[in-house]
Amino acid sequence: MTPDLVASHGLTEDEYGNLCDLLGREPTFTELGVTSALWSEHCSYKSSKVYLREFPTEGPRVLQGPGENAGVVDVGYGWVAVFKMESHNHPSFIEPYQGAATGVGGILRDVFTMGARPVACMDALRFGAVDAPRMRHLVDGVVRGIGGYGNCVGIPTVGGETGFHPSYNGNILVNAFALGLARKEKIFHARASGAGNPVLYAGSRTGRDGIHGATMASESFDAESEAKRPTVQVGDPFMEKVLIEACLEAMGTDAIVAIQDMGAAGLTSTSFEMAGRGGVGLHLELDRIPLREEGLSPYEIMLSESQERMLLVAKRGREEALFEIFEKWGLEVAQIGSLTETGKAVIHSKGQVVAEIPVGPLTDQAPMYRRPVSVPADLEARQVAPEVPLPENPSQALKDMLCSPELASREWIWRQYDHTVRSNTVVGPGGDAALLRMKGTPQGLALTCDVNPIYCSLDPRRGGAQAVAEAVRNLACVGAEPVGLTDCLNFGNPENPEVSWQFRECVRGISDGCRALEVPVISGNVSFYNENEGQSIYPTPTVAMVGVVPKVENHPSSGFVDPGDRVILLGTDHREFGGAAYLRLLYDLEQGRPPEVDLEREGHLARLLRSGVDQGILKTAHDLSEGGLAVALAEACFSRLRGARLKFSGGVLDLFSESQARAVVGVDGSQVDGFLDLADRFGVPAEDLGEVGGSDLHIETEEASLILDVQELYKEWSTALPRALGM
């Protein structure tokens, strides 16, 4: 092994030394490849582990926290929800369609591998400025890829997030989320056990796709990575669909001991993780692996990231039952090895042993770093409170904000996703949280994903907490109580102390939020090295949250419903403009500390909203987020093209402030008093703003009035995104 070869595998000298000690000799080429993949940042979480431990991961409903393919929470009536989110940033930047598509494919496999039938997807996307090079191509490709895969597999994509910011010009983010449902007693694990049990391979054949994908996800982007680029992984959603059906059918037998998909680092990580969790060894015969092309070396076979492949441990003597099911679905299946008691992974090819590695030690001795941290040099200057100019023409200001790519309707995106297949979608994309019914129960499941990278960049700890608070608020708007959270933590290079600091602070912020609002973290993913030519992205810890709605038929709309309904503002404004959309979109200013996150108030507000929904009082509920009150009110007008006549006790600027823990609700005129009492009981300040009706949105403030024709504004807002993208 030359130092160059070791270095090109991303292993440091120390790491390589550890490997030699552990083996008691120099590694073979295959062993070097396997180890480099397992010890890569992507697979080993070596820079993040120390902080991820701070997450609260337990709760009365949690059946499986982080550590498996996906987390599992009890959602009642014998059902469990299984969910996770994962990044596919680098592949999507290289080839947006296939990168995004295989991102969806991968996260679906993480969910059905646990025995759950996938029922919904979300996608959290961050793009650069719309006029940055290649950006339109990237947006178009990513959206097509997500739709192309999810639609074909027949899982509705019911929500997501989309942001545009120059910080992502050279490194976009594609985070895919999937949720599945399973019966509580039918959960499967990826824990291999039982020496002598056969190891089966099912699904697509192995090709040279994405060899070194895991290592690539652990490196920065630069001009050179173009050349190092592995063969692009191409997804076959049809294969995935039959794989889902076949696996779920196979899980209905008692022939499976353990099952896991082959994701990043392919067969390597799957076999080592399954054996490692169960404390067993295994031997693999690479000659038995179905190959797409001839001449793949053992090294390539072990590291290939070909999609739509599963590894199963069968009960000895029961493998025939599994063969039958996979063959019925037209899938290839092969026995490629078996479990042993040796605790070693022994890999054979063409009559030779090409790798022999003790599984436990290799996983246990995976490197772990507490990287140096430092506060970004420019942070203090960026946190200086901004001057906030008064808008010259408040109506125009609101209109300009709403028609910016940042706040424009996302309908152009989600119309390309099948969001109604499986006939469970009670609320699809476009609201605060998506809402699915659970057939056969009165319940609903709500989903949302959130993060504000500007806030996170200006104050990562606050930003992390804010993401959790906003998710809880979005869920509360459809009456849902959170049951768990998954995250996708997208950051720059962790070897840069400022990035490491951002990471640590964001994780702490999320932990603060989760502890205070009682939301366990049940799964997640870290994506480092999101930078281009040394320029890091903004810290982007995307949070996806799932909640339970006891009575789904009571859910309010995020828009105004009937003329005459009263509009009530909940929460208190503190005139906060740090990182606010108003300054950013109109004055190109990202300045100040982001709004304070008062988790206690967030808790009060969420409980009030849930109670209001549960009692069937709320006809409308929409939280305030980017753009503040004015934007929230305009959005509430759009869903049914209703106007409103409102009077607000603050000044014009207060309409755009982004103070947290606020929402607007709509109630029937007869319910106003009752609801105000309720708000009082929950300790939430409430102001009756006025009434739904007419064709204008009319907001009177202490200083000036805004008047906008709803129909006209809607037309602009709903078409602004494709216009900005030139589509």
Binding site: N151, C152, F238, R415, S423, V426
Partner: protein
């Protein structure tokens, strides 16, 4: 009445259709595997939506070669009812049970949204639950929903009154803006000359329950059941 829902590898809406018959309307219904060769026990056979065989090559082309399609053909020739929704419609066209073809949407993008349909005839078992010229809201979700045929075929379809659903605006007027995919003459669904095979792009099975915000698709299924049960009773009587 008994309905059979065919499951091709890649069918996605099979469970949704099953759910409507079984749980919403309390009918007997079963899944039929694509290798099935005998459909005799079913009054109605449904080809559900989805991406059979990934819709590779052309939507519905590979599924049209399945063994079950010969059985569907025989079922139709016997006068049995056949309903193809979305991918099912595409398969019926590829199998030659209905004339024409479905090509990519005018936008060249997947379109998932509600559209308005005008019910062009109500004398079919499939539409007996609607009133003449009813305008209903039904979702579409497809990439290849753009119905095309030669001008003479289109004229024949019109002359023999085989167009069952047309894309219209909310007021019932045919317009290009109301057409989500560019279909010739705004055709959203059509029947064979005998009136026992219906293919349609929109998804009535996705809008049969109040909870999901729309029940405009319900009349298609309830009418179908009423008619079929009526036919069965006549058969028993005679």
């Amino acid at each position: 009445m008994k309905a059979g829902v065919i499951v091709f590898p890649g069918s996605n809406c099979d469970h949704d259709v099953y759910h409507v018959f079984r749980h919403v309307l309390g009918q007997e219904v079963e899944f039929l595997w694509h290798q099935e060769e005998d459909l005799a026990s079913c009054d109605l056979v449904v080809l559900p939506g989805g991406f059979s065989y990934g819709d590779y090559l052309r939507s519905g082309a590979l599924a049209a070669l399945s063994p079950v399609m010969a059985a569907v053909q025989r079922h139709a020739e016997r006068g049995g009812l056949v309903l193809g929704i979305c991918n099912g419609f595409q398969i019926l066209l590829e199998a030659g049970l209905l004339p024409g073809a479905l090509v990519p949407n005018r936008s060249l993008r997947f379109e998932c949204r509600d559209v308005w349909l005008r019910v062009e005839r109500t004398d079919l078992p499939f539409t007996s639950g609607y009133k003449d010229r009813d305008v209903v809201r039904i979702p579409v979700a497809h990439m290849d929903g753009n119905f095309q045929a030669s001008a003479s075929t289109l004229d024949d379809l019109e002359d023999s009154n085989q167009v069952v659903f047309r894309y219209v605006d909310e007021s019932g007027a045919v317009s290009s803006a109301a057409n989500p995919n560019g279909s010739a003459r705004n055709i959203a669904g059509l029947t064979n000359a005998e009136g026992n095979v219906l293919g349609m792009m929109p998804h009535p099975e996705r809008c049969v329950e109040e909870l999901l915000g729309n029940t405009d698709g319900l009349a298609l299924f309830s009418g179908l059941i009423r008619e079929t049960v009526g036919i069965l009773q006549q058969e028993v009587a005679s």
